[in-house]
Symmetry: C2
């Protein structure tokens, strides 16, 4: 089904906000088999919105609008859409109740103008909003359909998952099933090359790769007559992918690497600590970002200077003098020292050059990860030869996570 | 001048990439006095691009395109635009040289298809690209103008600042001058209320507020006949703003708070260390994210558990037992312990509940920042009463930065 997305909001045209709603909707609609052909952004201006709505319906059959459903004067999306579709308004009592409950929960007085949100087009499918005040809705006419979402991304996502997705399924000729497989340690082009035999000439299931800085995601999707056939096809393809690149896969359910690592550490009742130099705390921050991380991390260290590596971790100054502060030997000595002072089951360290500048004979992007786990110690050498400081720091952190993941899953 | 932005790229319609180019261009064009009326996104499809180009030119006089300038088959923007404007192509020798130099620098062989990028529309203003291979260009006809940028955001920004901005100035009736003032510790609505006397009925200079999580940015802009008048008007308004909310301002040049803090620490030859609990390393990561931070930070600690606060920092267990691990007393004891073990000039600590769950009698969003600086010690109490873990963690980190900023500028 040919689809357009219209974002309404002057703040988008001022560049104050980025249109992430359009990419979120596009990703999910494509996965459901909808053909997203256009994005539009228009300000809070009735005539221009009317024009774009007409344009969108001229070329596509499903038009999705975001924004302009709130209680204020310049929220006009609902009125313009109802007028275009020739629908009157009714007062939706459930919305009234929801609004009263919403403000009661927050112990706040409900301003009169909020009631504006309780009027919906006659004949619409309401999308009741438990994550905010403005409801969304879907409306059909002459084989064309329009769906209106509020602008705040959190509310839009909630409404998409709690109502809109189900509503949209009736437009799908076939049943769709997909799985998001996450990998780390292999680039997108290498991943595609490795999977070429599976991707080439493949119509269903489809395999799409998405590169994120430092890692790469695979999406396996199938559209069949029944959910059973679709999910069977995805499972079968997933198995074939695993045969080829299983060593790089860390999640079959679109989990973040830090979530996976913390989950496994919990399951195995392991504690972890880090001694970070160039990542400066990013690794500890990513572990502690996972709710419940307190079960697995008690303490962590940022030893940025050579002095700190010596005084805090007890790295022998000879090691630094002999091999250099950015060296496999120093990385391992940091992990060993960390193991002594923290007593954590998994001890991971990193020393490297994030850039932009690096010492003589070294390049930005060079780093070494040291580890001590059970009776094992060792290091991983990294060299991204990139000069983007932020990119390198984040990449080093991800490779630390991957190293821990491989260690605690006995794959390294 | 009425302006449209057309982003070309199927990856945008798949939701794989977010259209940050449109917001970047919109922000800068609005600041230059251009009236951005529409954003369009269209796939790599010649006919649809032609249609949208015609639509954009029907309603606006300046059309800016991004993407589709590369060497591959599906890069069609340049051809479509030249055809629409009725321009032939010429071979630009400077682009050829730039291309050869680009690949030589990287010691890579230049594939033939790269030469495609050296053909530009006759009569255009080339935008030579030192940040990539595809040049941009501007082309005019019958009082309408089009500018084409390559899609990669880094290249687009480089070309905008190194050519496009200058080219666009001739369309500006007046000279534009602006300043970005950054504040921390005051919400957007409070800031607007405080500045209402200045904002109300103000036509020039204009004052716009932009809320970012935890902080708020002010943009003061003026358009006058000369640069001198414009910048004088901005300076005068800046002084009036400073009289009212100067206490919250940390930068008059759109610097990040961590950059400002590291710069001042360097200037004053001060070292800093942190003892982080709920922020789990975010503070250290933000300080070390600033190039050259090694001058000011030698070591930092993540003491997530109560045991670590006791064993690593030497917080008296009685303090935790008596006042609780999330308390002003524990926060101050953490900072004092940190001062003892690190000897850093500025010692800052944080203990709190980021959420989603918190202990009895406490709410997510409650946190205490402790500090020791020179002969001073003390604490800052925070309570965002939010339940968004990521938001809280980041907010706590920003408030730590602000506390350090106020301390080392003797404003607290």
């Amino acid at each position: 089904m040919k689809t357009s997305i219209i974002a309404v909001g002057t703040e988008l045209l001022f560049g104050q906000t980025v249109n992430t709603n359009a990419s979120y909707l596009s990703e999910n609609l494509n996965l459901m088999g909808f053909d997203v052909m256009y994005h539009f952004v228009v300000g809070d201006n009735p005539q221009r919105l009317k024009d774009k709505l007409a344009e969108a319906f001229r070329d596509t059959d499903l038009v999705i609008l975001t924004g302009g459903l709130g209680p204020t004067q310049d929220d006009l999306t609902k009125e313009i859409v109802a007028e275009y579709m020739g629908a009157d308004f009714y007062r939706d009592e459930k919305v009234i109740e929801d609004l009263k409950a919403f403000f009661e929960r927050r112990g706040r007085h409900m301003a009169e103008n909020n009631l504006k949100q309780a009027y919906l087009p006659v004949g619409c499918t309401p999308l009741y909003n438990d994550s905010g005040t403005a409801p969304g809705f879907a409306l059909e006419k002459d084989g064309k359909a329009v769906i209106c979402f509020p602008g705040p991304p959190r509310e839009l996502k909630w409404l998409f998952e709690n109502g809109a997705r189900q509503y949209l399924e009736k437009f799908m000729e076939k049943k769709m099933c997909y799985r998001v497989i996450r990998t780390i340690g292999i680039g997108e082009s290498d991943l595609e090359t490795a999977l070429l035999p599976l991707i080439d000439g493949q119509t269903d299931p489809t395999i799409a790769t998405y590169a994120k800085e430092g890692e790469c995601t695979l999406r396996v999707a199938s559209q069949r007559d029944t959910n059973e056939e679709a999910s069977a096809a995805v499972d079968e393809m997933t198995a074939r992918i695993t045969d080829i690149v299983g060593g790089y896969i860390y999640s079959y359910d679109d989990e973040e690497l830090d979530e996976v690592v913390v989950r496994i550490l919990k399951e195995k009742h392991l504690t972890i600590s880090a001694a970070e130099s160039c990542t400066g705390g990013l690794f500890a921050a990513s572990i502690t970002d996972v709710p419940g991380a307190s079960e697995v991390i008690r303490e962590s260290y940022v030893t940025y200077s050579s002095e700190a590596k010596i005084s805090v971790l007890g790295v022998p100054s000879e090691t630094i003098d002999t091999f250099g502060v950015v060296s496999p030997e120093t990385a391992e000595a940091m992990a060993e020292g960390l193991s002594r002072i923290s007593g954590s089951d998994v001890c991971i360290s990193v020393t490297g050059y994030a850039g932009p500048d690096a010492d003589e004979g070294h390049s930005a992007g060079e780093a070494y990860i040291g580890y001590v786990y059970k009776d094992r110690k060792g290091h991983v050498s990294l060299d991204t030869s990139r000069n983007f400081r932020k990119w390198n720091r984040n990449y080093f952190m991800l490779r630390m996570l991957r190293t821990v993941y491989l260690l605690i899953t006995d794959r390294m």
